[in-house]
């Protein structure tokens, strides 16, 4: 089926469902998502109370972190019972400073991640509004304040500054998953703006005189609300000392560069002036040079000799260090004729292309919005002639920018073949504009399968096969992956929870293995996800990032609505040119809208396979592979079938039973208390004078009890209604992915 007709089919399903419901359908079954924590960090060695908000927060049992040095336990109320969605989080004395991932575990499993910072600074949390000069919150030096931006307002802070001092004010936002684009202003004692930053959330301020200063914070477009949180740090920094920056989560593009990368080459530094050819910095290859795109329109020119036949790999890391740069490398051969020089272009090296075409972010969905490429440089330099060469490195974004923070690392090395991998959960079909399904934690339902794209950036000419796999999977969970074939840049990974998989929540690893120079090389697959569930992509650009690890869970609360699996768990064999019929077993849990599942196939070489339409609730189907029309390469393949569907989903029906029991109990208790009160009230009149006082006291107490029992009854009724409403069937569009179908394609018989 062509992608175009796939869209049409899905639209058909959606329309069918819409006819039955006046309300807009939501997309994707309830998914646990951690949206905010307050505060967003903790000081090393301290314990803080953290309140969380999110989606599908029922029965939150744990708050987990990507480092064991951060631990959380439920906060207990005065009654000794845990308070809902509140935790006491402790950062161990040896907790690593930086950004870690937080997530909760709830009824439906592990949630999406939210950044949580461990810092050396004293932490405060803003508790009262500070939207005027008069209500400004006083900031202590070397502290960080956790706050939520007030919409259509300016948040005010104040501090005491001294002449000669250097004050660094930083507002961490995007790097800790916030939606806020911060504007940072330092103003004088009357609140008049002195200096402003709107692009990097950083102000390096030298107070012109001793006195009071204000810091104003607001959103670039004055947006606010819980998703626009920020951490405002005020630090005294010695003159000339480097500016300590707040730690940031990693961009997707950065997976292909390791901060600690060591190529076994002596490190060197760029030496200005080297802008002009005449002032080229002389180097020898290989080299590992640290430098900066500074000042504006900086060009760094390096000169080296090379011999015919040499092959070098040139890599520049800058954008992948989280900087807003676009490095460009030009290599030219230099021929000298007396005083004159002739320069001949040898190589132009620019962006690292994305291994999978990212979505254009148009209104229609046309692929995953993850750009795993980079504006950095990674390319080959082949020397065709002995001679003198010059390499010029410039920042294509640096023409007018004077920012010494824009640094780079330039490595020129002989081939060191290697690879880097990233993966993200996919949602094959999305309704226009709604991208919330891309914020998808690996919270599995028994009988369910999740699909992932895996992409590779191959380094220094490595072209071999890469085997994908997972380690430390919970009981009952299996992973099947397509091998990334030689020369290919993409693969797929399927994670399946069996129908019998028990409840669990842990951390697994996805890995890729390849043979390089006769040795097995294993590399982690870094998981990426969207920071937020975006329901209107025309109004908000979905922002992805790398996660710190691979949390995975299986719930016991409910099963996947549909399971599609090959009847037998085996490798199916078929010869090229022949047909193979694979019987499928389908399991249906719950009720559905529509009439059929229009299955489609996924897997390299099989996307054009003719796929069956399956009637709703059918227990079996047949998938016929015709290898006369499909021409996959011989060897083992993994195929998945998938389809959109609309479930009449009942949210947590078990809660209705519990609520009903609780309501009955509350009703009964109220009735008993009422009867007792009535009895005591009657006794008051009948009681002899000497006992009347005592009976009266008892009757009053009973009346009080009755009041609270009635309140409890009303509360139970409210809960019952909420649970019943939630459990009423609602149309939710989602996708079902089959369990992996493994096929071995054999060469055709020789005729």
């Amino acid at each position: 089926m062509s992608p175009k007709s796939a869209v049409r089919v899905f639209a058909g399903v959606a329309c069918l469902a819409l006819a039955g419901s006046a309300f807009a359908q939501s997309v994707i079954l309830p998914t646990p998502r951690l949206l905010t924590t307050m505060p967003m960090g903790a000081q090393v060695g301290a314990t803080v109370e953290v309140a969380i908000t999110g989606e599908n927060l029922e029965d939150v049992s744990e708050l987990q972190f990507s480092t064991p040095k951060l631990t959380a336990k439920p906060k207990l109320g005065s009654d000794g019972k845990p308070e809902a969605n509140k935790f006491l989080v402790t950062a161990a004395a040896d907790a690593p400073t930086g950004v870690h991932d937080a997530r909760f575990v709830s009824r439906l499993g592990v949630s999406s991640a939210r950044a949580f910072t461990v810092s050396q600074l004293a932490e405060v949390t803003r508790t009262t509004p500070n939207t005027s000069l008069e209500t400004a919150l006083v900031l202590k030096p070397n502290s960080v304040c956790n706050a939520v931006m007030t919409a259509r307002a300016v948040d005010f802070y104040s501090f005491e500054g001294a002449k000669g001092q250097r004050v660094v004010v930083e507002c961490a936002t995007a790097g800790i998953d916030s939606k806020l684009t911060p504007v940072l202003i330092v103003a004088d004692a009357e609140g008049r703006d002195l200096v402003v930053n709107r692009t990097s959330g950083l102000l390096d301020f030298a107070p012109p005189a001793d006195g009071k200063y204000f810091v104003k914070v607001h959103g670039l477009t004055f947006k606010g609300g819980p998703e626009n949180f920020y951490r405002l740090a005020l630090q005294d920094v010695a003159t000339g000392a480097p500016i300590p920056r707040h730690a940031r989560t990693r961009s997707v593009s950065s997976f292909s560069w390791s901060q600690a990368a060591d190529f076994g080459i002596a490190k060197a530094a760029e030496a200005e002036p080297n802008n002009e050819h005449a002032k080229a910095q002389k180097i020898t290859l290989p080299c590992d040079i640290s430098g900066g795109f500074f000042p504006a329109a900086d060009v760094d020119t390096f000169e080296f000799s090379a011999k015919k036949g040499e092959v070098w790999w040139v890599e520049v890391a800058s954008e992948r260090l989280g900087l807003p740069t676009d490095p460009f490398v030009l290599v030219q051969r230099v021929e000298k004729d007396g005083d004159k020089e002739k320069l001949t272009d040898v190589a132009e090296l620019t962006d690292i292309p994305p291994p999978m075409k990212p979505s254009s972010n148009g209104y229609s969905y046309d692929g995953p919005p993850y750009d795993a490429g980079s504006a950095d440089v990674l390319g080959k330099l082949e020397i065709k002639e002995d001679g003198l060469y010059r390499l010029q490195l410039r920042d294509l974004f640096g023409g007018t920018r004077n920012d010494a923070a824009n640094i780079y690392r330039l490595v020129i090395r002989p081939a060191a073949p290697d690879f880097a991998l990233a993966a993200w959960a996919i949602h094959f079909e999305l309704r226009n504009g709604d991208r919330n399904a891309q914020s998808k934690p690996i919270a599995l339902r028994p009988g369910g399968t999740m699909a992932f794209d895996v992409v590779v950036i191959r380094r220094d000419g490595f072209a071999g096969d890469i085997e994908l796999g997972m380690e430390n999977l919970p009981t009952g969970v299996t992973a099947a992956a397509l091998k990334i074939l030689a020369g290919q840049s993409q693969g797929k990974l399927l994670i399946t929870a069996s129908e019998k998989a028990p409840r669990s929540a842990g951390v697994a690893q996805i890995v890729g293995r390849a043979q390089i120079n006769g040795a097995t090389v294993t590399r982690p697959v870094q998981l990426a996800s969207m920071s937020w569930p975006v329901r209107d992509a025309s109004g908000e650009i979905p922002k992805p990032r790398l996660l710190a690890d691979v949390p995975i869970s299986v719930t016991d609360a409910e099963g996947a609505p549909i399971t599609i699996a090959p009847r037998e768990n085996k490798v199916w064999e078929v010869k090229l040119g022949e047909k193979l019929t694979i019987p499928l077993a389908l399991t249906w849990r719950g009720e559905f809208s529509g009439t059929t599942l229009k299955l489609k196939a996924d897997g390299a070489g099989f996307t054009a396979a003719k796929t069956p339409d399956v009637a709703l609730k059918a227990a079996t189907a047949e998938f016929v592979l015709d290898l006369a029309t499909l021409k996959p390469t011989p060897g083992e393949h993994t195929i998945a079938l998938y389809s959109g569907y609309v479930s009449k989903y009942r949210h947590n029906p078990a809660a209705v039973i519990l609520a009903e029991a609780a309501q009955k109990k509350a009703d009964a208790e109220a009735a008993a208390v009422a009867a007792e009160a009535k009895k005591l009230a009657a006794e008051v009149t009948a009681a002899p004078a000497e006992k009347r006082a005592a009976v009266e006291t008892a009757a009053k107490a009973a009346e009080g009890k009755l009041k609270s029992a009635e309140a409890a009854k009303a509360d139970a009724a409210k809960r019952m209604k909420a649970a019943t409403d939630a459990a009423a069937p609602k149309d939710i569009a989602d996708i079902v992915v089959s369990e992996p179908i493994r096929v071995r394609v054999l060469p055709a018989d020789k005729k």
């Binding site: 008049r192 676009d326 410039r394 294509l396 023409g399 007018t400 025309s538």
Partner: protein, 712 residues
């Protein structure tokens, strides 16, 4: 008879007769009724083809010249949409007929080339209501000269001051000052500068505080216009606060200033205002409209807020003007990371980029030269595409936001195709030699280098002229973005001195404002004396201006104590701080008072005239009424305040006009406040309510005075 030249005789006749005007046969694309001529005869070769060879040759008929369509139409003997253009008795008609008679020769290769144009007199002092005949001589490459007075075209740059007839006779009206008459012939232009003195005695001059005063007063003396005296303190604080900070002075500011005996207080006030964020807000408002910060889609909000803020923050930090322009012109990266990139979102075509840059930063209008030689400038298509070539290596990569690109320098040789010659043209600054820019260099940086060069003849002049107009209502060159040889400044020495001062200050924008606002010239009274009322361009007195839309709205808010609620922005955000044009849609006030939409680089997009709709709006509109009665506003506060009425009336006058009320004003106001009021059915109103209504009325009355609505 001598041989008639097509190039030097026929074409000038056609031009003089208006045949090849833009509205007639030189209309872009198709000409008129199938007959096309090049604009103003810039392309004789093409004109010859059209005239002689097209239309089956019926336009020219050598055997019987009188029967040629060319003459029949031109003389109106057959129906002609353009009417009669040539009298059969005229010299022009005779020339055309002779050319036809000679067999319609074409002589571009042999015709002597026109090299210069000379007008006599080039400079003259003339009395009001006098006349002067000009004499125009064409000089050719072969050394010959020719009197082309009859064939040249004439136009005065200020028609209220002078009119020039078709035959080159200049009639001076009764307005004193400097006027230029432009003379055009065959792609060349010359100018006659006429000085028209008033001739009144200039006995008293205000103190001269610097080069501005010296040059303005020297000119006034020369042409005999006595200046008005320097204005009083109240007028000054109101005027300068409105012009620098875009707002009225507060009551406290006015009181303090009026009470101060410090002789340097005016200079200090200028500095205080320049150092306030209000200055940055007000001038950012001016610049962002010119830089087309326009909201077309809801998703533009981030780019527009970022861009507006970048301009505002740059002004707050007093970034040197050459740096500001450099960062804009050569912007790279993303809008969020580098907001001036947003300009490239709005202005996408290289032609539009060069045209906007030339008009806004150089005061040169290049638009004409895209398709033909500029009609009254020296700029050719080659000059146009040479400027365009600076923008030829802009790389774009799409971003996640629809319509927004990442901008970068695309490696390659900067050049662009001349649409006329189809030949590649390399970059060159206007009037400068061609640059060989290596493929690795961003040519836009070289353009910024050229603009910011101290000897650039346009860059500094254009800015100081624009700012001069901001403070004086009229530029030294008008329109302020039309600098050319044929449109000379009214005071050339002053323009040069301002530009020199600006360059030497390191392109310090605050320094321009400072030197202007601290001059006596800026501080002259708006009240004319017995002589200088006729003066419109010599700055002998201050020319009053209506407050612009945003400033007026803010002033009414400040005066009444109301706050206008603007979408997305914090309550209390002032109209001068609005980031883009989107707020005009929701505000009848801003629309009726002419806030621009950011569609053009021309300041003329802002309506500065007064209209009936404006008067009615101020008198009757619901939003203005609501402001008068705003809860917690000035009317309510004064009505309730436990203060004597004279003190309250004094506050009103200080708030509105930055001055004390005069005794008759005080009396009228007190009487009005004391008057008993009745409700609709004639029942007396309780005193508190009556007083509040009375204060609202007073506020309303003060807002509706010229003294409030004008900066004077």
């Amino acid at each position: 008879m001598r041989t008639v030249s097509f190039v030097n005789d026929v074409v000038p006749v056609l031009t003089k007769a208006g045949c090849n005007a833009g509205a007639c046969h030189a209309k872009a694309g198709q000409g008129q009724n199938g007959f096309q001529l090049s604009l103003l005869g810039f392309e004789p070769q093409e004109d010859y083809e059209h005239l002689v060879k097209e239309g089956r040759g019926r336009r020219v008929f050598a055997a019987s010249p009188e029967q040629s369509l060319l003459l029949m139409k031109a003389s109106g003997r057959v129906p002609h949409g353009g009417g009669m253009r040539l009298d059969p008795a005229s010299e022009g008609y005779r020339l055309l007929r002779a050319w036809l008679h000679q067999g319609t020769p074409f002589d571009q290769a042999t015709a002597p080339k026109l090299v210069s144009l000379d007008v006599q007199p080039p400079r003259k002092t003339l009395k009001t209501k006098s006349e002067q005949q000009l004499k125009v001589t064409a000089r050719y490459a072969d050394g010959r000269t020719r009197d082309v007075t009859a064939l040249a075209l004439y136009e005065a740059n200020d028609r209220a001051m002078a009119e020039a007839s078709e035959s080159g006779r200049v009639k001076i009206a009764d307005i004193p000052g400097n006027v230029a008459v432009m003379v055009r012939y065959q792609g060349l232009a010359a100018v006659c500068n006429v000085s028209v003195p008033l001739g009144a005695p200039v006995k008293h001059l205000p103190p001269s505080k610097g080069f501005i005063d010296q040059l303005v007063f020297a000119n006034l003396k020369l042409i005999g216009i006595p200046p008005s005296p320097v204005c009083d303190d109240a007028t000054f604080i109101r005027r300068v606060s409105l012009d620098i900070a875009g707002r009225l002075p507060t009551v406290k500011e006015a009181e303090t200033f009026l009470a101060s005996k410090d002789p340097a207080k005016r200079d200090q006030l200028v500095d205080t205002l320049l150092n306030s964020p209000d200055y940055a807000d007000f001038f950012a408002n001016k610049w962002t409209a010119l830089l087309k910060n326009k909201r077309d889609a809801a998703s533009d909000i981030t780019a527009n807020f970022a861009f507006h803020s970048w301009v505002r923050d740059s002004l707050l930090a007093n970034k040197p003007y050459d740096q500001l322009v450099r960062q804009l012109l050569a912007a790279t990266g993303t809008i969020e990371g580098n907001p001036p990139v947003a300009w490239y979102k709005r202005v996408k075509q290289p032609t539009e980029q060069l045209e906007d840059v030339a008009q806004l930063f150089l005061g040169v209008r290049m638009q004409c030269a895209q398709c033909h030689h500029h009609p009254f400038e020296r700029w050719s298509q080659h000059d146009y595409y040479s400027m365009s070539a600076f923008f030829s290596q802009i790389g774009r990569k799409p971003t996640a936001t629809a319509g927004e690109d990442v901008i970068f320098h695309k490696r390659g040789m900067a050049q662009t195709e001349n649409k006329k010659t189809k030949l590649p043209v390399k970059p060159a600054g206007l009037g400068d030699p061609t640059l060989d820019i290596p493929p690795d260099e961003d040519p836009r940086l070289r353009l910024a280098d050229w603009m910011g060069n101290k000897s650039n003849p346009f860059f500094a002049k254009s800015l100081v002229n624009r700012y001069w107009k901001h403070f004086f209502k009229r530029g030294l060159i008008e329109p302020e973005d039309d600098i050319r040889d044929t449109n000379p400044p009214s005071n050339p020495e002053l323009l040069d001195a301002l530009a020199k001062h600006f360059v030497e200050s390191g392109f310090d924008l605050k320094a321009v404002v400072r030197v202007i606002a601290q001059s006596s010239t800026y501080q002259l009274s708006a009240t004319p004396n017995q002589h200088n009322g006729v003066d419109r361009q010599n700055f002998s007195h201050f020319y009053p201006r209506r407050l612009q839309a945003e400033v007026l709205l803010d002033s009414i808010d400040q005066f009444t104590g109301a706050r206008t609620d603007f979408a997305d922005l914090p309550l209390g955000t002032r109209a001068i701080a609005l980031p883009d044009n989107s707020y005009n849609r929701g505000s009848a006030f801003l629309k009726v008072f002419g806030r621009p939409e950011g569609a053009s680089v021309c300041e003329c997009e802002r309506a500065s005239s007064a209209s009936l709709a404006q008067s009615l709006h101020l008198m009757n509109a619901a939003d203005v009424k609501a402001k008068l009665a705003t809860s917690g506003g000035r009317a309510e506060r004064l009505a309730k305040a436990d203060k004597p009425e004279p003190a309250k009336i004094r506050e009103l006058y200080l708030a509105a006009f930055a001055r004390e009320p005069q005794s008759h004003e005080q009396t009228v106001a007190e009487e009005y406040l004391a008057r008993p009021r009745e409700d609709a059915v004639g029942k007396p109103l309780p005193p508190e309510q009556s007083r509040r209504i009375a204060y609202e009325d007073l506020l309303w009355a003060l807002i509706n005075t010229k003294e409030f609505l004008y900066n004077h």
